[in-house]
């Protein structure tokens, strides 16, 4: 009986006996795991390791950089790309591009909601009056042609900007015909291929056109047309990143600068300053990061005067040099897309009317897009990107329908608005150093031509930074000094 009870007890104990060693072993394993973790952490805290007690945000910019580019539009990325391409040795220049409008992981166009680059019509032309503009545009056309050699990233499909070599057609009225002829002379001298057409030739070549009021027309034969801006931006960005440019998502809120006071011979006091840190506000958080830098490039497009103000430009007394503001303002421009099944066909170029209205073909399905620059009195409000549809009905349509009678019947399909980085002083870009802020470069104020001039400007700024002077195209005419002197670099437009 006793033996039986022992057996029962033992049977009762058996599960316990069975489980216990296993449980014991498990806790021992956990303990060694914990110990390993602890050891790792302890190792991490030792000086010289990467571990910090605070979690790291992924999009933080590096703490130091040689060049900080404010604005990640096509101009900003072009500057970054050319800096990396022309650097004397691999990794010599540390470049950061700060853009508030993009998310690092997302490559969809929805992210660049306000950026002028992707909202542009994507045209490129050589029909300017200033030799610098013509040279820049010729360089850019060459860049676009060889874009796959410039921007090819190994392992990626080839870059194709979908260039439409249809050319620009400028129409001139009686008053502007002489200017047009003179402009064409300059353009030909610079190497652009432009042909002049009389109204009779125009009528023969483009039978859909009403040539009333047209005295002369100029038509670009080569290197003119339109392309996909989104592809160019993306290709520049991915190439620059593959070459080691840092991209940071955030908004530049202020600069930390050193200021030195100096007195001129006339006894006027001048403050020289030098930007030491760029303070970046990270999106959707209260976090700030400051980048210690030696040079800053202001490529913030329509918002670049805000950036300039942060560096103290335009904040001084009105008659001094530091009182000269960067005269770049955002201006809203509308683009309308319409459908017209009987419209002009494949030979339809980018048409610039005598009134300033423009339009072009979009694809093959009878779609067209176009618009007009409003006069100063009717400048729209720039708070949002709402499109004014009455503007098309009242201002754009009558002018286009007069020039191209088959546009009498059309159906507006869609529209959008974008910002111009409009230079209110002379509608020409501001490129180069500021005389008082020692290390701030401008590449802004393109007044709607930023996309087509971006490759050339990027190269020019990179030359200015790395070599100290312009080598390929001399852009001295667009320096900030002209704003101080009050000399306008005016483009003599036909429109």
């Amino acid at each position: 009986m006793f033996g039986g009870r022992t057996a029962l007890l033992l049977r009762g104990l058996r599960p316990w006996l069975r489980v216990e060693p296993r449980r014991h072993r498990d806790s021992f394993r956990d303990f060694t795991k914990e110990f390993d973790k602890f050891r790792q952490k302890a190792k991490g805290i030792l000086p010289g390791s990467d571990w910090t007690p605070l979690p790291i945000s992924r999009d933080l910019p590096p703490e130091q950089a040689d060049v900080v580019i404010v604005g990640g539009g096509v101009v900003g990325w072009s500057v970054a790309y050319w800096l990396k391409r022309n650097e004397p040795q691999s990794g010599a220049v540390r470049v950061v591009v700060v853009e508030r409008d993009l998310s690092v992981s997302c490559l969809s166009s929805a992210r660049y909601a306000k950026a002028s680059t992707v909202l542009s019509v994507g045209g490129i032309r050589q029909q300017y009056s200033m030799p610098e503009n013509i040279q820049m545009s010729l360089f850019s056309a060459n860049f676009l042609r060889l874009i796959d050699e410039y921007l090819h990233v190994i392992g990626q499909p080839p870059v194709d900007v979908q260039f439409n070599p249809s050319g620009y057609l400028f129409l001139a009225s009686d008053e502007t015909a002489a200017i047009l002829e003179e402009n064409v002379k300059v353009q030909r001298m610079e190497g652009a291929k432009v042909s002049l057409l009389s109204p009779a030739e125009l009528k023969k070549k483009y039978p859909w056109m009403n040539t009333d009021g047209v005295v002369l027309a100029s038509c670009g034969l080569e290197n003119e047309g339109w392309f996909d801006p989104w592809t160019l931006l993306n290709a520049l960005r991915s190439k620059a990143i593959s070459m080691g440019v840092y991209q940071s998502c955030g908004e530049v809120t202020s600069f930390t600068s050193d200021t030195t006071e100096m007195v001129t011979q006339d006894g006027e006091q001048i403050d020289f300053s030098r930007i030491k840190y760029v303070n970046v506000h990270m999106p959707n958080s209260t976090e700030y990061a400051s980048i210690q830098c030696s040079l800053v490039v202001n490529a913030a497009g329509a918002w670049s005067s805000k950036v300039a103000e942060m560096a103290g430009i335009g904040t001084g007394p009105p008659d001094s040099i530091s009182g000269v503001k960067l005269p770049v303002e955002p201006k809203k421009r509308y683009v309308y897309v319409w459908h017209c099944p009987d419209g002009p066909g494949l030979g339809f170029p980018m048409l610039i009317d005598t009134t300033g209205a423009y339009c072009r073909r979009e694809g093959l399905g009878g779609n067209y897009l176009g618009g007009i620059s409003p006069t100063e009195e009717e400048e729209p409000d720039i708070q949002d990107l709402e499109v004014d549809h009455e503007f098309f009905q009242e201002k754009v349509w009558p002018k286009l329908a007069h020039r191209v009678p088959c546009f009498e019947s059309l159906k507006v399909k869609s529209s959008w608005a974008g910002y111009y980085d409009y230079n209110t002083f002379d509608q020409s870009p501001v490129i180069g150093l500021h005389p008082l802020v020692d290390n701030l470069y401008f590449a802004t104020g393109f007044s709607g031509h930023g996309l087509q001039q971006a490759p050339a400007v990027g190269q020019a700024i990179a030359e200015l930074i790395l070599d100290g002077k312009y080598k390929t195209i001399d852009l001295e005419a667009f320096s900030f000094n002209r704003l101080i002197k009050g000399e306008k670099a005016l483009e003599r437009n036909v429109i």
Partner: protein, 269 residues
């Protein structure tokens, strides 16, 4: 254990061979053999050393292209642009015919000189050039653009002729009567649009252009644009299967309404 892995790898390679054809859909690529590029691409993704190899082969190809498309400066300086162009074309194994000649010439330049017994070399004018199947590129056209009286130009099956090159041909807009672009893999409908400058064109061959989308529609638009011209090689009913991995813009052209609405929406969100 090794066999299934190997099989999977093989499948990977095979699928890459197929998918590599999408690189051809883009107009900037000029891949002669897609299979080769596919394998290289595959290896490139796996091993970093191959990248260098690919880069070197690209550079070599570019150098060769550049070398063959140089401007024939000596001939141009001594005998003028027409002879320079003749030398260039004959070097690329093309054929030429001068004004007043009845036969094509495709041998050496000295023999051609003998044929022109009644003309001085400086006065010769090229009437026709057949440079089909050669590696002439945009830069190579430097040699041709100064010709005064070119009537016939055959650029068929030239892998490096693209839309940009087509816009360069506009210098011949008053003289050119026959143009063949058959089988150029890089030419798209965007480039064909700039043919509207050619008012005297009588014959245009646009057969077998793999990069042109909506061939039927393009054919109609070309006829509308060049009413005096006889267009061959592009049927009204021709459509092509949708290209895998086509770019956004292409899709947009296929469904313009939807795409534009989409674009507008994207922009406004």
């Amino acid at each position: 254990m090794a066999a299934p892995t190997l099989l999977r790898q093989c499948r990977g390679i095979v699928s890459l061979l197929y998918s590599s054809s999408r690189y051809n859909s883009s107009s900037t690529s000029s891949t002669a053999n897609p299979a080769k590029v596919g394998v290289l691409q595959y290896l490139c993704n796996r091993f970093y050393d191959i990248e260098t190899f690919v880069e070197v082969s690209r550079a070599l190809k570019k150098w060769n292209l550049h070398r063959n498309n140089r401007f024939c400066i000596e001939a141009c300086e001594r005998y003028g642009y027409e002879v320079g162009a003749a030398v260039f074309v004959l070097n690329l194994k093309g054929r030429i015919r001068a004004w007043g000649q009845n036969n094509w010439h495709q041998n050496s330049i000295t023999k051609w000189k003998d044929d022109l017994n009644f003309q001085r070399l400086e006065e010769v004018r090229l009437e026709a050039i057949d440079i089909s199947g050669s590696i002439i590129s945009y830069n190579g056209l430097d040699n041709l653009v100064n010709l005064k009286a070119l009537k016939y130009l055959d650029l068929s099956r030239c892998p490096n002729i693209d839309d940009w090159s087509l816009s360069r041909l506009t210098v011949f807009r008053d003289t050119l009567e026959e143009l063949s672009l058959a089988g150029c893999p890089q030419i798209t409908e965007r480039g064909l649009a700039c043919l509207h400058h050619f008012q005297n064109l009588k014959h245009l061959d646009v057969s077998d252009l793999p990069s042109v989308q909506h061939k039927g529609l393009v054919r109609i638009l070309l006829e509308e644009m060049l009413p005096q011209c006889d267009i061959v090689g592009m049927g009204y009913g021709e459509t092509e299967p949708p290209v895998e991995g086509a770019t956004n813009r292409r899709e947009m052209e296929e469904h313009p309404e939807a795409a534009i609405n989409l674009k507008a929406r994207e922009i406004h969100t």
